[in-house]
């Protein structure tokens, strides 16, 4: 590590990950919108043969938004803010710089190959864990590379205390590593069938109820350690920095952190209510989901109280607007999730459209808004240029907020209607409705969801355009803004 008075933070790797965050965000949302339209208009399934069917596109959507958009957003923000709160530049370590670049290229090429495998239907068949074992190995290598950078940066830091956001990113690293390894334990079918199967295709090492339990321990905690923990880490850095206000209560942020770590891991079995898993485990999943409100709201309230006395910024700065609405949607989805995990509510909600409704008010309102806000904050500082258009940001904000509201309200109505119709019986105990009756009733809501997808993706295109114009045509900044991001 060298000491140099003219030392600057080096954003080379952060910039690269920013580009792919936007690329994968667009692709993931585009495919998601196509899926929403396919549900409303099934004939759209047959436009490009087997490659365009719902079943082929759905894993591409989920994996692209999770492992493409969100994870590269996490990497981009890490390579940006970690330097700043650890007070060390990437330029100070040749090794970490090379590792960072290798990390990016292995990730980018790996992500493209992974996506192509899904396009061709090469799949291990587990939800959110479709990648085959050989793709999993590449993903593990990518993750280890990130770990090398995390611990390398922490090792050469000047600031002794690790800022709370670093804790959250560390939890993301360790949590995903553990979950991914255990859930993706699989065996090539060649070995499982004494030579009859294939080397590249694999089956899970778990079976039956055990497989379901491990799958949902993974699935729910992928939400915890992918969609919650790093995004909370993001807002704990970007909201104070953008607003110029320190976190309302640092102690509460630490307490919420440990609360989240403690409670989240036990809540996954709420995905298996009314199934064949042990009854005590179902009850535990429900109970821990309710308790989960406390650390989640602890973080969310802490974020909102950070703006105490500075609420005027909400009207003046669109970036604050993005972050405040993100924490509000975080509150909404973390109260909605526990409600759905109550056994009696789940009896109606399970398998209905209320579930994707819940997922999307969380991811579209919280995760995507927060990642976009972070990139908006980072871009002028990385490229030393003012944001191209404040007006465009405002239009994007309202388009996407309207889209999220349309999405979750239509799915609430659709889900509850669906759940009630499935359960409806006549005076003799016979089911009143057949499955197709529910599909007919739900059609208008599916159309609304399709419209919401178009609106949200269009907003994302505006975001991408604004970032592109900022990089290429934004007014040059002579010095880095301390807090509020400058915009034209």
């Amino acid at each position: 590590m060298q000491s140099n008075a003219a030392l600057e933070y080096d954003y080379t790797v952060a910039k690269l990950f920013t580009y792919v965050t936007i690329l994968f965000g667009f692709l993931g949302m585009l495919v998601g919108t196509i899926l929403a339209l396919q549900l409303a208009f099934p004939e759209l399934n047959y436009l490009i043969g087997e490659y365009g069917t719902f079943s082929r596109l759905r894993p591409i959507h989920t994996n692209t938004v999770i492992f493409g958009f969100t994870v590269s957003g996490v990497f981009a923000t890490w390579y940006y803010f970690a330097q700043r709160v650890l007070k060390v530049s990437m330029a100070e370590s040749r090794f970490l710089m090379i590792m960072g670049k290798v990390h990016f290229w292995v990730y980018f090429i790996g992500a493209l190959i992974a996506t192509i495998t899904l396009v061709f239907g090469i799949s291990a068949g587990k939800e959110y864990a479709q990648y085959e074992w050989w793709v999993d190995i590449v993903i593990v290598i990518i993750w280890i590379m990130w770990g090398v950078n995390i611990f390398g940066m922490i090792g050469i830091r000047r600031e002794k205390a690790l800022y709370v956001s670093i804790w959250y990113y560390l939890a993301c690293f360790l949590g995903i590593a553990m979950l991914y390894l255990f859930n993706n334990m699989s065996i090539p079918t060649y070995f499982a069938t004494e030579g009859l199967g294939s080397i590249h295709h694999s089956v899970s090492m778990y079976s039956g109820t055990n497989d379901a339990l491990v799958q949902w321990w993974y699935g729910h905690n992928a939400v915890a350690f992918g969609f919650t923990v790093p995004i909370v880490g993001m807002i704990y850095y970007f909201l104070p920095k953008e607003s110029g206000q320190a976190i309302y209560s640092y102690k509460l942020s630490l307490l919420s952190f440990w609360g989240l770590m403690f409670v989240y891991l036990w809540a996954g079995s709420h995905h298996l209510l009314w199934s064949t898993v042990p009854d005590w485990m179902q009850t535990m999943g429900s109970a821990f989901s309710i308790v989960l409100i406390l650390p989640s709201w602890g973080s969310a309230i802490n974020m909102l109280l950070t703006m105490k006395g500075e609420w005027n910024q909400l009207a003046e700065n669109p970036l604050i607007k993005f972050m405040v609405i993100a924490s509000t949607f975080y509150m909404l989805s973390t109260i909605e999730g526990p409600i759905q995990a109550i056994k009696s509510v789940n009896a109606i909600a399970h398998f209905t459209d209320w579930i994707p409704g819940h997922v999307h008010d969380g991811v579209l309102g919280w995760v995507v808004f927060m990642i976009m806000a972070s990139l908006f904050h980072m871009t002028p500082r990385m490229f030393k240029r003012e944001i191209y258009s404040k007006k465009l940001m405002g239009i994007q904000f309202w388009m996407q907020t309207t889209a999220v509201v349309l999405y979750f309200t239509s799915m609430w109505i659709a889900g509850i209607t669906q759940g009630m119709m499935w359960r409806a019986v006549d005076e003799y105990g016979n089911l009143v409705y057949s499955f197709i009756d529910t599909v007919t009733v739900l059609h208008p809501y599916y159309v609304i969801r399709g419209v919401s997808g178009v609106l949200y993706t269009a907003g994302f295109i505006l975001f991408a355009f604004n970032i592109y114009k900022t990089i290429t045509a934004g007014r040059k900044l002579t010095e880095e803004p301390q807090f509020r991001t400058p915009m034209a």
């Binding site: 030392l7 600057e8 933070y9 803010f81 700043r84 709160v85 007070k87 530049s89 830091r157 000047r158 600031e159 002794k160 205390a161 800022y163 709370v164 956001s165 704990y236 850095y237 104070p240 920095k241 110029g244 320190a246 976190i247 209560s249 640092y250 102690k251 630490l254 307490l255 440990w258 609360g259 403690f262 036990w266 042990p278 005590w280 485990m281 535990m284 880095e480 807090f483």
Partner: protein, 73 residues
């Protein structure tokens, strides 16, 4: 007692144990601040003063130097 029951009881007592730890942590945070041993709120400044030449909240190099001196005494 079958394995399911053992797992259930194990989970119950682990939960109690972890809850005690969590409550102890709340007490620790507030008590150490009240006694003046630590000021947790100062760490919030790390995000705000984050230029490479901004003052450090806690200097790692200086703290390591102090520790070495202590050990050599």
């Amino acid at each position: 007692m079958d394995i399911q029951n053992i797992q259930g009881y194990g989970m119950f007592f682990l939960t109690i144990f972890l809850t005690v730890i969590l409550y102890w942590y709340i007490l620790y945070l507030y008590r150490s601040e009240k006694k003046g041993e630590r000021d947790f709120e100062k760490y919030g400044r790390i995000a705000l003063d984050d230029n490479i030449d901004s003052p450090l909240v806690e200097d790692k190099i200086a703290s390591e130097r102090d520790n070495t001196k202590e050990q050599n005494k």
